[in-house]
């Protein structure tokens, strides 16, 4: 391979999610079809129009040392926990010092849709109630959108580049795509990449509810996130982070690293249709899928699993399936599809990170996680949706996709193969 088209592989994974405090417990939750959605017990939630969310299973303050945690926004706490797990999982011991990877060949790309929103709002409360002198001197590095990437970069001593793509709910996917390009084009040998979000706070909840994006369903909270179901009526806000370690195949082989799968490529496009509504026919999503096929060696025939973006909104889920059908035609019939958001809720900028972890593990374990809460499959969803029970994937080399779409019309499709 020349320096501008190097093979990229996944060598580490980490997560902290509504299903568990690490990738293994999250994966276990996904396979058993467990919901991470629950009632918000906080006093502030009492009067909100939506009182459910998918909160992380393990509070970050029980994992991170307090002096470190108090200088990090909650979103950065999640990212750091997931990144440390992924870093260790990839076999790296301690920050880069040139023995396992050179700092100048190591990058970090961690995205968030909203950044340090809880820090911003909490410090504004302090400003109003206690005066300017009490505003934390850590506020700016905590609220800046690249705070998570910067802290992960510091943790591993990344000096090839520390980046934060921002595209709302596509951010995590975009981060992993960007990271793969850093390796493919020779800028880095190893990149820690993923997404994170911590926006379960009355203001974002009220704002998402008022734009009619959140489900107003007041049934059992675990039954509300129901992608592809006929009765779906909006997403459930989630929080957490998913991070992977990407590495050039050459670098991974040289250090004898365990390889989960290859990252084949990414497809990108923009809808230019509406600031928050998806283009109903999936034109932009189809363009991203086509872009993936045009810029990689992926063949539709080898795609066995798709981790859909499907957030449980009436328009979005069907637009996605329409786009998949438009690009893949009859090939879509041999692709099994699930939305793990039925269990995790929607992690916004963290979604692409978490769902990449799920997609990578599906390939590695030859088992695709299901979609839960599909009581009546919407007749508009003409595709093979995995419902309730995990689905074995074929032996031999197969590929899997992870879709992420964001407000602003951003479309990102990531492709993996093993």
């Amino acid at each position: 391979m020349n320096a501008t088209n190097r093979t990229v592989v996944v060598t580490g994974i980490g997560a902290t999610t509504p299903l568990g405090g690490d990738a293994a417990s999250t994966w276990d939750g996904l396979l058993t079809g467990r919901s991470g959605v629950s009632l918000l017990e906080h006093e502030w939630a009492a009067d909100l129009p939506v009182r459910i969310a998918a909160q992380v299973a393990v509070e970050p303050l029980t994992v991170l040392p307090r002096p470190q945690a108090r200088k990090l926004d909650r979103s950065a706490q999640f990212a750091l926990i997931a990144a440390k797990e992924a870093w260790a999982d990839a076999g790296f011991t301690g920050p880069a010092d040139g023995t396992q990877v050179a700092p100048g060949r190591l990058g970090a790309v961690i995205a968030s849709g909203i950044g340090g929103v809880t820090t911003l709002l909490e410090q504004y409360d302090i400003l109003r109630e206690r005066g300017f002198r009490k505003v934390s001197p850590h506020t700016v590095p905590m609220l800046m959108p690249n705070g998570s990437a910067a802290n992960v970069g510091l943790e591993v001593n990344a000096q090839a580049g520390v980046h934060t793509p921002v595209s709302a709910c596509a951010s995590g996917g975009e981060a992993i795509g960007y990271a793969s390009e850093m390796i493919r084009t020779g800028r880095a040998d190893v990149v820690v990449a993923g997404g994170t979000e911590a926006a379960i706070h009355p203001l974002p909840v009220a704002a998402f509810a008022n734009m009619m994006a959140l489900s107003k369903n007041t049934d059992d909270p675990t039954r509300v996130s129901r992608p592809f179901d006929k009765g779906r009526d909006g997403f459930v806000l989630g929080e957490g982070s998913g991070v992977v370690v990407l590495e050039s195949a050459e670098h991974a082989a040289a250090r004898g690293a365990r390889v989960y799968c290859e990252m084949v490529g990414q497809g990108l496009s923009a809808d230019s249709h509406h600031i928050a509504q998806p283009e109903p026919n999936g034109r932009g999503i189809a363009a991203a899928l086509q872009n993936l096929l045009d810029t990689s060696d992926l063949k539709p025939a080898e795609v066995a699993y798709i981790n859909a973006h499907a957030t449980s909104t009436p328009q979005g889920d069907s637009a996605e399936i329409n786009a998949l059908r438009r690009v893949f035609g009859d090939d879509l019939d041999h692709m099994a599809i699930s939305s793990t958001k039925s269990m995790t809720g929607h992690l916004l900028g963290g979604a692409g990170g978490l769902e990449t972890v799920a997609t990578v593990l599906a390939l590695y374990h030859r088992t695709a996680p299901p979609t839960i809460n599909v009581d009546v499959l919407d007749e508009e969803i003409k595709a093979d949706i995995i419902v309730d029970k995990p689905r074995p994937l074929p032996e031999g080399t197969v590929a899997a996709l992870n879709d992420s779409f964001g407000f602003g019309g951003a479309n990102v499709v990531l492709a993996f193969r093993r």
């Binding site: 040392p65 002096p67 470190q68 002198r133 009490k134 934390s136 001197p137 850590h138």
Partner: protein, 88 residues
């Protein structure tokens, strides 16, 4: 003797503040320790230490004076003097 007791009390208070902010055990916070070099208090965290000390000891520590506070002893002396000068 009152002044020495005050300084001990100030040290104890500073130790609690540094423990809260930097996680250093209170008994390791001694007068000759440097905030930056020994106690893991960077320039941003130092602002937190100063604001907490102002509140606890009811003194004002202007930003320009903060860079003179290299060690815990520097801070204790500064606070002691500031308290004495407000009393007189």
């Amino acid at each position: 003797m009152a002044a020495i007791n005050d300084k001990d009390a100030i040290l104890e208070g500073l130790a609690e503040i540094v423990n809260e902010i930097a996680g250093i055990p209170a008994e390791e916070v001694e007068l000759d320790k440097s905030f930056t070099d020994d106690l893991d208090v960077d320039s941003l965290s130092m602002v937190e230490v100063v604001v907490a000390a102002e509140e606890r000891f009811e003194v004002k520590i202007p930003d320009d004076d903060v860079k003179g506070l290299r060690t815990v002893g520097d801070a204790a002396d500064y606070i002691l003097n500031a308290q004495l000068s407000t009393q007189s």
